[in-house]
């Protein structure tokens, strides 16, 4: 028996749940509608009407390099930060003395909350001037490896610098999630490993990492999502280009979707805005795919997960 108040409450709550779907649908629908003029433009129309649109390209040809740049910057950031984050998280959860670990955990939480514009400021003003010798060294010694082909640009407003700042940015986020997961690794399994004669590292490998794998994956995806959508740090550091380029140490090679939107939006006429929103739609789809892939990976391992 549910009175009027009960029914009202239930419907309000359900309405709020549905509202979320409505908001998301509104975002998606709006993106598509607003991007439509650009998507349906006849060939050549975009470069004809939009100042910054490259000559003779279609919308897809325009978005392609941006998607590439976005993925490249985020992927490198993830490659840099992932092992470090897992390391820090392990240090806090299983290596550091307990009192120190609590303090460190708190510090990491605080760092995770530092706004990205601050990281951009730090990257642009403090880090960039210091990176040039390191990148020059990389280019001199590892130039045979195509991504590190030189000469390294000066100032190093290159994709590797951007990725480094992004890595620093997502480091606390990934670490915070990993640490939380590692701390939840069942003592039961840790002791089982130790009792079998495992060293600390072997115990971590046998009992902690397998248990934490879904958590590590979602942490990585969280970090990747952040890196994919990050605008300010890229805008403040990178010398953009629009190539499918692997060169990490040269300027004018890549650009990310988010930074391109922020860069061109103020100057854009209605068709330009439409084009930018089409790129935003691409970014939206990418984050959606990343999210769903992460969920699929986590779900597939449910059988062997510790959750039972």
């Amino acid at each position: 028996m549910e009175g009027f108040a009960g029914r009202a409450f239930r419907w309000t709550a359900t309405g709020a749940g549905a509202l979320i779907l409505a908001v998301l649908a509104a975002v998606a629908v709006f993106l598509i509608i607003r991007a439509w003029p650009a998507m349906s433009a006849r060939s050549g129309e975009l470069s004809e009407k939009i100042n910054w649109f490259p000559e003779g390209q279609s919308l897809l040809q325009f978005i392609g390099p941006l998607v590439w740049g976005t993925l490249l910057a985020a992927a490198i950031a993830l490659i840099i930060s992932m092992p470090l984050s897992v390391g820090i998280a392990l240090f806090i959860s299983h290596y550091a003395p307990r009192r120190l670990a609590n303090t460190l955990g708190y510090v990491i939480d605080l760092l995770a909350a530092i706004p990205s514009v601050v990281y951009g400021l730090w990257g642009g003003l403090w880090l960039i001037p210091k990176l040039q010798p390191a990148w020059a060294w990389l280019a001199d010694n590892f130039g045979w490896f195509p991504p590190f082909a030189g000469p390294a640009s000066d100032p190093p407003r290159v994709i590797l610098s951007v990725s480094l700042v992004l890595a620093v940015m997502i480091l606390p986020i990934i670490t915070a999630v990993c640490r939380e997961v590692f701390l939840q690794a069942p003592v039961l399994h840790e002791e089982a490993a130790l009792a079998l004669g495992a060293t600390r590292w072997e115990m971590v490998r046998m009992a902690v990492l397998p248990f934490g794998r879904p958590g590590i994956i979602s942490a990585a995806m969280l970090g990747l999502g952040r890196a994919l959508g990050e605008t300010m740090a890229v805008l403040m550091i990178l010398s953009p280009g629009a190539l499918y380029s692997l060169a990490l140490l040269k300027v004018g090679q890549q650009q990310t979707i988010a930074a391109n939107i922020a860069l061109q939006f103020p100057e854009a006429d209605p068709l330009g805005v439409s084009t930018l929103i089409a790129t935003g739609l691409a970014l939206f789809v990418i984050t959606l795919v990343v999210n769903m892939a992460a969920r699929a990976i986590v779900a597939r391992r449910k059988d062997f997960s510790g959750a039972n």
Partner: protein
């Protein structure tokens, strides 16, 4: 429970107190100048309201000075300027988002046509408010000044001349020790009036070396680039062997090039820029109050510096709102007044427009009116 209740009340009280004290202690009197606070009633006008503008980031320094000066005598007026770039400013103006726009390029005939809708019954007019030399700026250790001909500048920015000790550069700079160092040309990454004037200059003076047309978007890819005048200057400062083109007001300590005009080498200066502008014709086919200037890049006037940017305020001849019209008139009149021109020259290092031009612009401003 009782304790936590106390704490709760305390926390709420504290937050409230903090908010109130925060709200009470703030002020718009940032400079400590009494006039800003509105106490100087004698000088204060009866104008009030918000005047929103957007546009060229090159105008930013000058605009800051103008706004400070204007708001000091009109404390009830807020003049806001969003330095989104010339194109953005024009777009926002044509869409009716702002009352006037700052632009480094005059409106095209097409845009003027569009503006007739925004400017209820009137049209948009271009009002030159200052001229600014575009300096070719470089960061080269031990070198403060170089002679660069249009063809060499074009070669450098087209990434054809790639080293500072290239023969082309050395030929024009006898006695200067040029280092063996890669040249990193830096361009604007956003659509900008500075780029448009710069590429127009190269296309007009060195058509052989510069195969591109005048464009607000830099046509050559693969170089350093940054957003806004400050961005490119910051990039040039951050690297060795870098070179860019930028509004001379932001140059600071960096080295600048003398460009070749006729047979002479001319450095950037406000006076040189003013000479180049005065020697240039108007854009044809416009109404008398629309003062758009077509810079003659190939001028051979003595001491003229034709790598110059004329900046415009773009306003309507007719405004739907009377207050808007009054505010625009008052502000733009201040801008072209001696006081305004001195302020921008001091803050931005720009060249004042000549007295004759100023009189013409003022006459055009006087025709701005509100719709009946």
């Amino acid at each position: 429970m009782k304790l936590s209740l106390h704490r709760r009340v305390g926390a709420v009280a504290l937050t409230g107190a903090l908010a109130i004290s925060l709200a009470a202690c703030g002020s718009d009197n940032a400079t400590g100048d009494a006039a800003t606070a509105g106490t100087d009633t004698a000088a204060a006008s009866d104008l009030s309201g918000d005047l929103n503008a957007a546009g060229s980031s090159a105008q930013e320094s000058a605009m800051e000075a103008w706004r400070a000066g204007f708001q000091a005598t009109n404390p009830s007026v807020n003049v806001n300027y969003d330095p989104v770039g010339s194109g953005g400013g024009r777009t926002q103006f044509l869409e009716g988002g702002v009352q006037f726009a700052g632009s480094d390029a005059a409106l095209s005939d097409e845009e003027i046509e569009t503006s007739k809708e925004t400017c209820v019954g009137g049209q948009a007019i271009n009002l030159p408010t200052y001229i600014s030399p575009i300096a070719v700026v470089f960061n080269l250790e031990g070198v403060k000044e170089l002679n660069l001909s249009p063809a060499v500048i074009a070669g450098i920015f087209d990434q054809k001349i790639t080293n500072w000790n290239a023969a082309e550069i050395a030929a024009d700079n006898p006695g200067v020790t040029l280092p063996d160092l890669a040249i990193s040309p830096v361009n604007r990454s956003d659509d900008s009036g500075t780029t448009k004037n710069f590429t127009d200059y190269l296309a007009s003076t060195a058509p052989d070396a510069w195969p591109y047309k005048a464009d607000g978007v830099f046509p050559v890819a693969g170089g350093q680039s940054a957003q806004g005048t400050s961005g490119v200057i910051q990039t040039v400062q951050g690297g060795n062997g870098t070179i860019t083109y930028a509004d001379s007001s932001k140059v600071g300590e960096l080295g600048t090039a003398k460009i070749k005009v006729g047979d002479a080498w001319v450095g950037h200066s406000p006076e040189g820029a003013a000479i180049a502008v005065d020697a240039s014709p108007r854009v044809e086919g416009r109404i008398p109050t629309d003062i758009a200037i077509k810079i003659d890049r190939n001028t051979t006037e003595a001491d003229a510096y034709p790598l110059v940017l004329t900046t415009y305020e773009i306003a309507c001849t007719v405004y739907a709102d009377a207050n808007d019209a009054a505010l625009v008139k008052a502000f733009l009149s201040y801008v072209v007044s001696d006081e305004g021109q001195t302020a921008s020259a001091s803050a931005a290092g720009s060249a004042p427009i000549s007295a004759e031009l100023a009189a013409e612009v003022q006459a055009a401003i006087d025709t701005i009116k509100a719709a009946a």
